[in-house]
Symmetry: C2
Subunit: 266 residues, 2 copies
């Protein structure tokens, strides 16, 4: 046992946290005997140098997990630096749990390079953790913002449109295609604003703004429940969670919330 190593304690894939909203750490002795360990990096925050690890969950947990209300509450309670650390760790161990087999030949894979790779025991192919680029966009026209409510979302909850960047397209092309598909609106002058990792299971959210050529909406009803144009005052009211707000904004730890804040500050 090396006292300079520590183990991130997870509850399945959920974070364990103390009353101060900080992640709880154990030692490598807390890991099951046969657990695969992922190296998260070196922590030098207290002047020393500790190697940080997390365990890959057991085989039974091999399904992708979406964010649920319980998890969202936990995330809101975590301090920002702790949320970032948790997010990266969660993405990695979740990827390992769902990639115990080789996509090329079907053979078993084993963890390699401290958890930043898996290698096939049959054909030798290397596999690497996956991060999916997703564009999320403010669509603007005449000082209003186009926001949508996805299928199955609570009444009144609106967010920025978003979608995976597909093979063969730029970020800007992805934004334009997604908006055209979801709401039938043509956008131009797409600009990058900011990015954020999102660990459900492992996305790189790429926040942009684009100018709509018109305001007429043709909804793709297989993806969206509704979409509307909101004023600056509407967005401010929702960020302040006021009673008269015409919609509910996404919570503060989301990139959509950060994009809303960026937009009203313009």
């Amino acid at each position: 046992m090396d006292w300079k190593a520590r183990l991130l304690l997870l509850d399945g894939l959920n974070p364990s946290m103390d009353e101060g909203g900080r992640l709880v750490w154990g030692t490598l002795a807390d890991a099951p005997e046969d657990a695969e360990l992922v190296f998260l990096g070196l922590d030098r925050s207290d002047g020393g140098e500790k190697a940080c690890f997390a365990c890959v969950p057991p085989e039974g947990d091999a399904r992708p997990r979406m964010a649920n209300p319980q998890l969202w509450a936990l995330m809101t309670a975590l301090a920002p630096d702790q949320l970032a650390l948790y997010g990266g760790a969660r993405s990695l161990v979740d990827w390992h749990a769902r990639h115990r087999f080789c996509a090329q030949c079907g053979g078993g894979t084993t963890i390699a390079k401290g958890g930043w790779q898996r290698t096939c025991t049959a054909c030798g192919a290397d596999h690497f953790p996956r991060t999916d680029p997703v564009s999320i966009m403010l669509v603007e026209h005449g000082g209003k913002l186009l926001l949508g409510r996805g299928l199955g979302w609570p009444e009144g909850r609106f967010s920025a449109l978003a979608g995976f960047v597909e093979p063969g397209e730029t970020i800007e092309e992805g934004v334009a295609r997604e908006v055209l598909e979801e709401v039938g609106v043509v956008v131009r002058d797409v600009r990058y604003i900011l990015s954020q990792p999102w660990p459900f299971p492992s996305q790189l959210m790429i926040g942009c703004i684009g100018q709509a050529e018109g305001t007429e909406i043709t909804l793709d009803e297989t993806e969206m429940a509704e979409a509307h144009w909101f004023t600056r005052e509407d967005v401010i009211a929702s960020l302040e969670a006021r009673d008269d707000a015409p919609m509910v904004s996404p919570p503060p730890h989301t990139i959509a919330h950060q994009l809303f804040r960026w937009w009203v500050a313009q």
Copy 2:
């Protein structure tokens, strides 16, 4: 046979092209009987509407392919719109060829949703084409640019530093980490410039610029052969392929070349 459908003819994963640098198309009758077909989209370029497909290569070709000199020559000969179409198609069929098995359970997978998905015949898990976000960065200090030569690259060939954006980090954090790891330089004020898809096998290249805090280089010799600071005049000479250029720039269809052009135009 639907006369409104057409099949992109590939030579393995390489493009087939006519003398005008345009991709060659056949009909669905040109596809082998048992071939998996990927739907590329609708072509409305000649006023009509044709469904475009490509075949997944046979099982023997299930290895990732890197760009080689022959392929680079073909890419240079393709018109830009044709290169974009080829790149997207290549990424997709290559992904299918390398994902005939389920990473969760090892079972066989079959093509679904026109080729934008594979589904496991054993556990039912869905798998989606992968695109890896990669940051590629101009590192600037006092009007000079920091460029590197990768291990195994020809003498004199330099490009912008680049690396995968890892789970849990933003684009900007990825740029800073990569530069610190590869050349030991601290960068700040990272800004996004432009993006480009890159189909070897399927990357989203995210071009940025950052300001170096110093010029001292500490090379990671497991990744880089050398790294140097180049003047604006050096970069212009290399873009013009002049005899006195102190280095060779990447070819015009690369994002690094576009970044160099953007930088000298500032």
